[in-house]
Symmetry: C2
Subunit: 544 residues, 2 copies
């Protein structure tokens, strides 16, 4: 009996994916609450755990990490990452690409070019991911971003129109398929039309199946016809379809719609179960059992993996879930892995550290730069000038999760060459706002001098409602009225940019970039400052 | 001729140490201005460069980095780092130890214990450094911190009294000598009595040789008698000794005093030549030629290594510097390296990634924790309480070079469990100060509620004058007067702590820790909140 139970447990564990840091050492974990320690990981892998999702670190560490995790495991692992925007979105050294919506924007004027870019986008991401040891990309996002107030999808979507999204994700999947790496269409049945972040609470949608068929399901149907390997479910309550269960836990949505109606044969994977949309109501055991019975094959990031595994074992033991469901899910998982088995590069286990092959690295770099230059908007011919008393006012979400800003960032160092002093606004600092709708900025707190405003604002999980709540439109008006706005740059949210364009005065130098990475900052600021020098002297100090 | 010149150039290059990032990839460099690209490093090493100083990254990367650099080089390299406070001071995963002055403080009541701790301190640092591939520790600091206003030495010194410093650095060197790794006494002839940061400008001292003999030189003499391998010179002008040249460039100080009078036979190494104290007056070529003729054997971090190497070649070619000087310095360098040649662990080139040996890692961790608990001061019996409206006001130098603060830091996450909202003051943010000496804090900018004040303030290169300029003493009085100070913690500067003790009211919970690392924050805050739970639930979000 004990050995049967152990066998059952091992089989169930195979269907779980837990979160680990891409950094090698426990002490380096950025999110120790969510990222298991090496000891715990090793134990779970020994017990049969089937997959790991990785966050953070650099590409060399990632490669080493994948090798180590695979070594600790009894079976071939699913090794995945949320690299919707290129490997560099999560791992230093990889290509960090402009968000998908930038390609959706290019599609509007040059559809063929956009389709070509989307395919290269997929190929670049896949090639780099594979060479680091990942075998599963948690993308493409198939959501149609039809709600500008969406706090969590936004620029992550490939477009605002279902047909455009379909064409682009189809091209992206082609780029992936050449590289033989697993893919994942998300977030089923469509997370575009929400104004709530499911990381924080459960969004409720009123769409019926007709509406879904007309809009949200179209890209998923395309992805399925293109043989996408997995579909990730969303933590949304579609009350007209299943008023009791969020999509992730809904048999109607997983089994009836996705499996039976859309005839999807691949892996159904839950979104992270520890997100508040699920976690506030269901504990790890409940959520895992419900998701698995509803139709999910793979359980992603439960709050407590042990409890969740045990709960599914118990449900099978007691007959609540038929053993055949387990066998089917295992079969699907193995089938998916078979597809990528032979694709681990031969040199992978010899080569000690990863420096991408030079030719490919150059191609990828050119591509990343091309996306940035193609997608950025320099609004008019006016340029920024030298000053000796300027303020470089930068708005970011948080100083602690900002990938876009570090001491080497062009957004900090380039304006300082022209006399702008850095001042950074963020969630953990003194507020720059005052209680006055028409003059929302407390100018005293900022000091004297012309202000270059750089806003890093985009859809970002966990940052609360989309940041329209910060009254930037009125703030821009306020600064214009007193002639203190010397320039404006938006990185990220195109909807905010559109709104600001309605109020910005003609002579203000201004620009928009969907991407917020250092190279985007460099390109935007070099243009606005008319800086021709590619080797800009950066104003950096060194440590002792 | 050409080949002779190449030979000469190769020989001269052997005496140079340039700076590189500990991170593997160019894009990851934290200080791209000072840290050479891999291409440039490879070239210089191919041309004969003899050493590299490393900054940043984790211990696994460091190990890989040392191997790669050595592979690119034609000869055995000097591989060094500024790890005065343990390997973890610069490289994640290593032990980050409380600063040396904390042991100087323990010495006051328990000299024998302090001596024992200093020896373990050396051994722990050496063992970890060696296992990552470093062969040269740029320590111990032999400066006597006899000026509380010193902006750059401060807690980095082992004490305020030359005899105490001598005893402790002697013990530290013993710890090193067991591990066979090179050491470096710095900053000759003593950087303790300055109130200027030589990273920013040249400090001028009025001490004559009698005074130096009575105070500053004592620890250096001890270090020499303990066979320290190298001595690093300071960028200070001792106008009574050599009114024309800073110590680094002074033949009197290097050759007459250090080499002849003190009879030092090891390597003389300059401090980084690109520091402003030198750089504002001498370019790379001038500084290198002057330092080398003055007596230095090793030239550290010139602003432009190529120019500096060429300039010394030219000076030798033209007879300005005798070829014998070059030969002597080369001989000294090789002699030093001979000492550590056989100490590269055998497994070094097989073992792929570094997880410190378990037993030693545990020992080191215990030691690091012990130093923290031994050196922290919980001032009274009063404890912090729950609130629902508190402000956790944290003062750091800069958000961009803060090793003490990240999203997993106890200083942020522990108070938030007790109802304190984080607010971070830093150089790049909105100022909390107003122009009122007795009420220096602009309380409106901070909002309502009791304030827990955590000040991370210590001697830190490049942060300008020591931060006594920020009127924290008056700020504490101001908060006390209106009953809004709920607690006070100083991390770092003991002199500020002493001054605050004079004004702090008896019932305010307060504490001091010389160390600012996460474990120090954990220990201090657990005490002040009476938190018994070692697995504190940290209030962290996860990424999408």
């Amino acid at each position: 009996m004990a050995s049967t139970s152990l066998k059952l447990r091992e089989a169930v564990a195979e269907l779980f994916v837990v979160r680990a840091s891409g950094y090698l050492q426990d002490a380096e974990r950025q999110y120790p609450k969510w990222e298991l320690s090496n000891k715990k990981l090793k134990n779970l892998l020994y017990e049969g755990l089937g997959g790991v999702i990785l966050y953070g670190g650099n590409t060399s560490e990632l490669k080493e990490r994948c090798k180590t995790l695979q070594k600790w495991a009894k079976k071939q692992l699913l090794l995945c990452a949320d690299i919707e925007e290129g490997l560099g979105q999560r791992f230093y050294g990889g290509s960090w690409l402009t968000p998908p919506l930038s390609i959706g924007e290019i599609f509007k004027s040059s559809p063929n070019e956009a389709i070509k870019l989307a395919e290269i986008y997929g190929r670049c991401t896949a090639r780099q991911a594979k060479s680091c040891g990942l075998n599963w990309i948690l993308g493409p996002v198939c959501d149609v971003n039809n709600n500008p107030e969406n706090p969590v999808i936004n620029v992550r979507a490939w477009g605002e129109d279902p047909k455009v999204v379909s064409k682009l994700i189809s091209a992206y999947l082609k780029g992936l398929s050449n590289q033989k790496i697993l893919s994942c269409a998300k977030h089923f049945p469509g997370h575009g039309d929400t104004n709530i972040d499911s990381h924080l609470e459960l969004p409720i949608l009123n769409h019926n199946i007709n509406r879904l068929n007309k809009v949200e399901l179209i890209p998923f149907k395309t992805a399925i016809s293109e043989n996408v390997d997995a579909v990730m479910t969303a933590h949304l309550l579609l009350k007209q379809i299943d008023k009791n269960n969020p999509a992730t836990l809904s048999p109607i949505i997983n089994t009836n719609i996705l499996r039976n109606t859309l005839n999807f044969r691949g892996l159904i994977v839950t979104d992270a179960l520890l997100m508040e949309a699920i976690n506030h109501k269901y504990n790890s055991s409940q959520a895992a059992v419900m998701a698995f019975s509803a139709g999910a094959d793979i359980i992603l990031m439960p709050k407590n993996a042990d409890n969740a595994i045990n709960a599914i074992c118990k449900a099978i033991d007691s007959g609540l879930i038929p053993i055949e469901k387990l066998e089917t899910s295992l079969r699907r998982r193995r089938k998916a892995l078979n597809k990528v088995k032979e694709t681990i590069p031969e040199h992978f286990f010899q080569q000690k550290f990863l420096y991408f092959k030079k030719k490919e690295a150059k191609q990828d770099e050119r591509f990343a730069h091309e996306l940035i230059s193609k997608s950025l908007v320099i609004h008019n011919k006016f340029r920024l000038r030298n000053t000796n008393s300027g303020i470089n006012l930068i708005r970011i979400d948080s100083i602690f999760s900002s990938q876009c800003l570090n001491k080497a960032s062009p957004s900090l160092n380039l304006p300082s060459l022209y006399g702008y002093k850095n001042m950074i606004l963020h969630n953990e600092g003194i507020s720059a706002w005052q209680n006055d709708l028409t003059n929302p900025l407390n100018l005293k707190s900022l000091g004297e001098g012309p202000i270059l405003l750089q806003l890093f604002i985009r859809g970002r999980p966990f940052s609360g409602k989309i940041n329209f709540k910060e009254p930037w439109i009125n703030a821009v008006k306020q600064l214009q009225d007193i002639n203190r706005l010397s320039g404006l740059i938006i990185y990220g949210n195109p909807y905010l940019w559109d709104k600001l364009l309605e109020v910005i005065e003609k002579h203000i130098p201004c620009a928009y970039s969907p991407g917020e990475m250092p190279e985007a900052q460099h390109q935007v600021l070099s243009s606005l400052f008319n800086n021709q020098d590619n080797n800009i002297h950066l104003n950096e100090s060194f440590t002792d």
